[in-house]
Every structure is written in C-alpha cells, then in structure tokens.
C-alpha cells in the first residue's frame, strides 16, 4: 500500500487512490496550513483546495476527498468541538446539496473536527449519489489509513476560521 507523509499527515492509500499532501505559499499575514487531497482519478496539477477544477472530471465511480487544516486559533471554537477524524461514514451522510459546486448526480459530505489538537474539515464528494452504497466503503478504507500528528511546538498562528 503506497504511503504518503508530509506536514504531519500520513495516509496509507487504498488501491486505486492517488493523492497529495501540501501547503500553499503563504501571502502576507496569511499562513498556509496543510491540505491533503485524495482521488480515484487523475488530479489536475492546478486544483482548488476543495476540488475546484477536479470534481468536474469525476466519473460515476470516482471519489474525491480533502482534509483541510485551519489555523490553531480555531482550536476550541464550537465549530471544531467534535474530537477526532470521522472514520466511518454512512451512505446517509452524503447529500446532493452538500456540494461546494452543485453538479448533477454528485453528492458530498463535510465534517469539522479537531484531531491531535489540530482543527480540520473533511470534505468528500461521490461521483454518483446513486452509487453511494458502493463508494462510501471505499472512502472509509481511505479514512482508516489517515493519521494526524500533533502540531509542532512553536507553529505560527494561522488565520482563524471565519
């Protein structure tokens, strides 16, 4: 199983998945945090943090998922009160209207949480809502292989959520 590790995030990729873990260049007072993207299709080189430029090329059997880290100032806020990365999603968690870009046939889910003292959101998209019972177990296998290390001491404060 291929394994990715960068910026305190480790991902064991199930068969058929590819991915990247990166930080964008910060600008001004903005501090970039880790972004981990995973897909069962070829990720374009220039893709938005939440799949802009990628979800439009998804097929019915494709999956896109992103783990997006927020700044440490967000730790302890109500939005990130849930502790722990959701490891087991259900088909009912995916809704056609939970999409950052509404595309016919697709559905998505989004969760905010704190893992290892770091605030994240998990956003996942299914290529076909009708096939969610088949696709969701594949996402769960991906989530089972994700590990987040605690934030390094002295990490500069990033822009808080909101």
């Amino acid at each position: 199983m291929p394994t990715l590790f960068a910026h305190g995030i480790e991902a064991g990729l199930p068969s058929g998945f590819e991915g990247r873990i990166f930080k964008r260049q910060g600008s001004g007072v903005e501090v970039a945090n880790a972004v981990a993207q995973f897909s069962t299709f070829a990720l374009p080189d220039d893709v938005g943090d939440f799949g802009g430029g990628a979800v439009t090329s998804m097929g019915n059997d494709d999956i896109f998922a992103v783990l997006f880290e927020y700044g440490p100032d967000s730790v302890g806020t109500r939005l990130f009160a849930h502790q722990g990365l959701p490891r087991t999603l259900s088909a009912d968690d995916f809704k056609p209207y939970v999409l950052r870009r509404g595309l016919t046939g697709q559905s998505g889910t989004q969760w905010f949480f704190t893992e290892s003292g770091r605030p994240f959101t998990l956003y996942a998209v299914l290529g076909s809502h009708a096939r969610r019972s088949i696709l969701v177990p594949r996402i769960n296998r991906l989530l089972a292989g994700l590990t987040v290390e605690p934030a390094a001491v002295g990490t500069p404060a990033g822009a808080p959520w909101n």
Binding site: P2, G19, R20, K23, A42, D45
Partner: protein, 279 residues
Amino acid sequence: MIALTVVLGVVVALVTVLVAGLLRSHADILKALHDLGAGVGDPVGDTTASSTPGPSAGPQSVPLTMGPALAADRDSTSAPTLAGVTPTGDALAVAPARGGALTLLAFLSTGCASCAGFWESFRRPEQLDLPVGTRLVVVTKGPEREIPGEVAALAAPGLSVLMSSDAWTDYEVPGSPFFVLVDGTSGRRVGEGVANQFRQVAELVRRAEVDAAAFTLGTRPGRDVGIDGPARESANDRELLDAGIRPGDPSLYPTSLDDLYGPPDARMPAAPHPMRRAG
C-alpha cells in the same frame, strides 16, 4: 651454524603451516561455491549426491541478479501507483492506471547529461505537442539519492515532479532518461523506452493515442461500426436465402477447394461468385 639451522627450520615450519592454512581456506571456498551451484568440475557427476535428502543434498540453484533485468524478465505491463515527495517537501502519489487518460512518466535525474534537454523542454509545455489530456509526471530518485534543491531548480513551475526511488524499482527503470506511457483506460503500460529528444517521445504518445482510439472503436457512441451480434446473424441468413441456399445445402459443407472455388479451369477472373454459383 647450529643457530642458523634452527632458524631455518623454524621458518620452514611456519611456511608449511601458512601454506596448509591457505590450502584449507581455498578448499572451503571451493566447497561453498560448489554448494551454491557455482563450483568447478562436472556438476552432473554429483547427481547421485543430489538425490540424497538432507541439507547437504547436492548443488542448490541460487538466483543471481546483476544490473537491470533483461527484457524478457521485465514486467513491462503493470502500472503500480507511484508515491514519494516533491522537491518542495510535499507528498505526492500518482495512480496512472486509473482515470482513463494517458500518463507519461519521465524518469530523469539531475546528473545525466542527456536528461538536460528534457528538463529544458518541459519549461515550454506549449511546445511539447502531447495529445490533449495527457498527463506528464517527471520521476526522479528519492531525496536519499537526489538533492531536492537541484531537482527544484531544474523543474519548470507547474511541472509535476515526484521523487521516489521505489518508483524506479517498481517500473524496473534501467537508467535515465527513460519514459513509460500508461493507458488509464486499460490500466497498463502501453509503451516504454529511451529517447534522445522529446519529439520522439511525443510521437510515441500520439501513436498510442491512435491505437487506443482504434481499440475502443466499437464502444464509441455515434460511430458506424456495422451490425453485430444477433442482427448480424439474421442478415447473413437473409443473404443466404436470397441466394437460394437453405439449411443442408451441399455448398455449406465443402470437402475440397473445388467445392469452394469451382474447377481449376473455372477459376478465372470472370468466374462467378461461389455463393451465387451454388445458388
């Protein structure tokens, strides 16, 4: 005189012990080589010994691998996922066997002179002349073998660069530069090899694209590929009935070339079509 004789005797004794030790060591080495199947002498002569069960039962065949695998030994079709890091320290995994598109993997290094032209070509992506939708990924060896800063200096902005020594092993890359083309539809490698200039590689990719298009001709919507399946069989039956050929007709069971083409003197350009003749 007596002292000289004693010294000489001691020296001779020491030399004797030394020579005996060397001979013993040499014998041990020969025995070990023989056990590994690389001994001198006629191994056929030991067939009786090899039939004896036990740990010392004759020469053992030991696989010996030196250098890159031979062409016949390479797994030239699999396209495993490549995982590693980028020159900037991010993590990247590419699954070329998925997604339906063509992926061109360019195995390059920073030190090889013949790679320099490719690094330079990748700085002008608009001139690469690759088919639309083809993904280009440069693969170097991992940070333990390449200096990320040097790779970053050579890589054009926006170019996907993956540093992974495991990928070189998985794809059995014999050296750099080396190119592998993976078809995401079939999930297989469809081409690989070396090139001196990138236009040679681009030509390989274009040919692969044409081949892939021809291969998927029957599944492309809107293409007139003729009738198939039960409809084709019905059409054949209609043609035969129109020609007066019904089930059991002797022309359906030829026993010689004459049954197919008529007598030799009749096999002229003006000879009637055998099916029409039979009817």
